[in-house]
């Protein structure tokens, strides 16, 4: 597999510096007001901000320096995703900068993969990943059939719940045999953007009607599994950041909101909810960071820890955002208040890649190996 999986050469100080500059960028340009404007546009995507992220080198975070990247690992990505999550940033980071680079780096055909990696690092290309059918489950078999046509391949079938497909230049498609690269401008690729309850993260389905594709040679089930693990940890990191932000906003409200002549945070009913949530908030942080560290170090525990992080961070985000609305009370039962944005994104997170219940079951399967 690619060099980006080798032990990280980034110091804690490096990571902190990268994290802080990303935080500064997003707090300047991707605050709640900007987010609300972006999600009203047709693309739902701020292209200028993506360029700024690329100029900071972050779109190439997991790409080897030979291909214009900075050679980081999932351990550098996880804290960045925490920042992204805090702002509910909705750019195509996971598909373009995490999953696609891992798959492209694993591709035996360097002439095919190299230029794409360079274009991701420079911010020029955006990638979507078509990983599942109608079940939404990336761990199930694909139903996109592939036919060999000389050097190229033809894809037939449909992919569902593809994030960022509307703005993608390329799509990596999981076919029945292997992984395939498709140009989204191909006439035989039909994009069907869906309307979604969560405006901050849009999904599409894609029909491939004999679409011409390049095969990513040497990229099989194991490489795909590894790329999926990276995606799961990136998503977990995003959920950690979002969880902590909505939790912090809630605690601040409990201190500043007065009723019955006192701050409502003095009432034990609310205190107890807050204390219980703190366990979930901290457990999410711990789970995502542990999994990132284990995967970067190729620890034998990394699969178990990745599944643990996947359902823990998804479920704890859902619970924290849901309880936040309850703790805020009436003010959060409005579109103007940010709580519902977090809650809706949390609902989405319950189903990306596969359901929390599925990952919980897979975690148990990993544990059963110890019997």
């Amino acid at each position: 597999m690619g060099e980006q999986l080798s032990m990280s050469e980034f110091s804690p100080e490096d990571r902190q510096a990268i994290r802080e500059s990303f935080e500064k960028l997003l707090s300047d340009t991707a605050n709640e007001e900007s987010l609300r404007q972006v999600i009203e546009t047709e693309s739902g995507f701020d292209k200028a901000l993506w360029q700024q992220i690329a100029e900071m080198g972050l779109t190439g975070i997991m790409i080897d320096p030979d291909n214009g990247g900075v050679g980081g690992s999932i351990e550098e990505v996880e804290p960045l995703m925490e920042v992204a999550g805090a702002f509910l940033y909705n750019g195509p980071f996971i598909s373009t900068c995490v999953i696609a680079p891992v798959l492209l780096a694993a591709c035996a055909d360097k002439e095919l993969a190299g230029p794409h990696l360079e274009n991701i690092a420079s911010g020029q290309s955006i990638f979507a990943i078509a990983g599942c059918g109608k079940s939404g489950d990336w761990t199930e078999a694909s139903n996109v059939t592939v036919t060999n046509k000389g050097d190229d391949w033809e894809l037939t079938g449909s992919a569902h719940f593809v994030t960022h497909a509307r703005n993608a230049d390329y799509c990596i498609v999981r076919g029945k045999e292997g992984l395939f690269l498709v140009d989204m401008t191909e006439s035989s690729v039909k994009l069907n953007p869906h309307s979604t309850d969560d405006q901050t993260l849009r999904v599409s389905s894609i029909d491939f009607n004999g679409a011409s594709a390049k095969k990513l040679g040497g990229v099989g089930a194991a490489e795909f599994g590894q790329a999926l693990n990276m995606g799961l940890i990136a998503l977990a990191g995003e959920q950690v950041g979002a969880t902590r932000r909505i939790f912090d906003l809630t605690i601040e409200y409990l201190i500043t909101r007065f009723q019955f002549g006192q701050p409502i945070g003095r009432f034990q009913a609310l205190k107890h909810m807050a204390a219980e949530l703190l366990i979930e908030v901290e457990s999410s942080s711990t789970a995502a960071r542990h999994a990132a560290r284990a995967l970067a170090a190729r620890s034998p525990l990394s699969q178990e820890l990745t599944y643990l992080a996947a359902f823990t961070c998804a479920d704890n985000f859902r619970k924290t955002a849901a309880d936040a609305i309850q703790l805020f009370g009436g003010i959060a039962y409005t579109m103007e208040h940010p709580a519902h944005l977090y809650w809706r994104r949390a609902q989405t997170g319950q189903w990306l890649f596969a359901s929390s219940d599925k990952f919980r079951d897979l975690y148990l399967t990993e544990m059963e190996a110890k019997l």
């Binding site: 701050p263 034990q268 205190k271 107890h272 204390a275 901290e282 079951d361 544990m367």
Partner: protein
């Protein structure tokens, strides 16, 4: 430095500890007092304390080889700077005179018992009514304590008393290190919900304690007590009371039980078992993070979450164990069934003992999250006017 220490400890243990027989080299049988004196004299009992107080002045990290070497040989006496609550409290809060008089005796003796709770003061501990009244150089103590473990063996107890009934509840408390082996101290075991009797009631009638055995200052005992209780909660969060913890690298006990009873195909139980294992693993990982943070910066907000998290783990696992067994759990005729029922009852020890979960949530909300303190209507009135019952 730690490599040298590792060798030093191992050589010392090889010379002094007979691992095969679990006793001192050359001894006929294990003599706790004699062995403890050797360990304390060598500086291995409390290595993070300064030399003046029987330690080695090491950081917790540098001291680790000592614990490891002792544990691997099954030798006792290590880690008293973390687990001997009485000695820790005297070390942290006692005057130099008190330390000189008692610290060595405490460290070489059995652990101290905790004389805190009373029938009328559990979660609201600042409501203690055991009276201590000055008489010459001593105080005379009368009252009743409850939920005291190790009361029979203990030579000393850490005693919370009322010394001023005219002051508000938090301002008339005095904290003593109290000699247990005297007339006027009667210990009666409690028959607990699990069938065990590790806890006792302690009846104190006209017992005496010297004034110089006050921990901290007269009537300022509540503050000193906070230091002692913080150490206790830290120990409980590590879940040392749990049988289902299981050893590292092995399959968790709950999973073994489900496998044994062929329940790993049931999709509903699978979800519940997986979530239970996850809670346990997450708590262990959180406590590891707490340790890392404490070594780095001296404190961690995570440390106070462990005990509360452990309640959900233990009650949850006990409930799932019963589901795995099905109606067999009604019969006390198999070990699995007896264990499941025992664990279900035992889980309350964590969720009630050392401050109930509800008190613990108040503490987390107030001290970690910074929410405003709940009001206590008895807080600012003279203690003698406080309603109790």
């Amino acid at each position: 430095m730690s490599i040298d220490l590792k060798k030093e400890v191992e050589d010392w243990l090889d010379a002094n500890w007979d691992t095969a027989n679990g006793r001192e080299v050359g001894a006929e049988s294990y003599d706790e007092k004699s062995w403890m004196k050797k360990v304390v004299d060598a500086g291995y009992a409390v290595p993070t304390w300064p030399e003046k107080w029987f330690g080695r002045g090491l950081s917790p990290k540098d001291a680790r080889p000592i614990d490891k070497a002792f544990q691997s040989r099954g030798a006792k006496g290590w880690g008293r700077d973390r687990y001997h609550l009485g000695a820790i409290t005297i070390y942290k809060l006692g005057s130099d005179e008190l330390k000189t008089e008692l610290l060595y005796e405490l460290l070489t003796g059995p652990i101290c018992c905790l004389l805190y709770s009373e029938p009328g003061a559990g979660s609201d501990l600042a409501g203690v009514r055991t009276r201590a009244i000055k008489d010459g150089d001593d105080f005379v103590v009368n009252g009743q304590k409850v939920w005291t473990s190790n009361a029979v063996e203990a030579e000393y107890g850490m005693l919370l008393t009322r010394t001023d009934i005219d002051a508000p509840k938090h301002k008339g408390i005095t904290f003593f290190i109290f000699p247990m082996k005297q007339d006027g101290v009667e210990v009666r075991p409690i028959n607990q919900i699990t069938g065990e009797d590790e806890f006792n009631e302690v009846f104190i009638s006209d017992a005496r304690v010297p004034e110089r055995f006050i921990i901290g200052t007269l009537n300022q005992g509540w503050k000193s007590f906070q230091t002692a209780i913080a150490s206790e909660r830290l120990i409980m969060g590590q879940g040392i009371t749990s049988r289902l913890r299981g050893a590292a690298g092995k399959a968790p006990a709950l999973l073994e039980l489900a496998y044994k009873h062929s329940k790993l195909k049931d999709p509903v139980l699978r979800q519940e078992i997986a979530q239970a294992l996850a809670y346990r693993q997450l708590n262990a990982m959180n406590m590891l993070r707490a340790k890392e943070e404490m070594m780095k910066s001296g404190s961690s907000p995570l440390a106070s979450l462990g005990k509360l998290a452990m309640s959900r783990i233990q009650h949850g696992e006990a409930k799932i164990s019963a589901k795995i067994l099905g109606p067999q759990v009604l019969l006390s005729e198999t070990e699995d069934s007896r264990n499941a029922n025992f664990d279900a009852a035992k889980a309350y020890m964590n969720s009630i003992g050392g401050g109930t979960d509800q008190i613990q949530k108040n503490i987390i909300a107030e001290r970690v999250l910074g929410l405003p303190k709940s009001s206590d209507v008895s807080r600012d009135i003279p203690f003698k006017d406080v309603k109790s019952g």
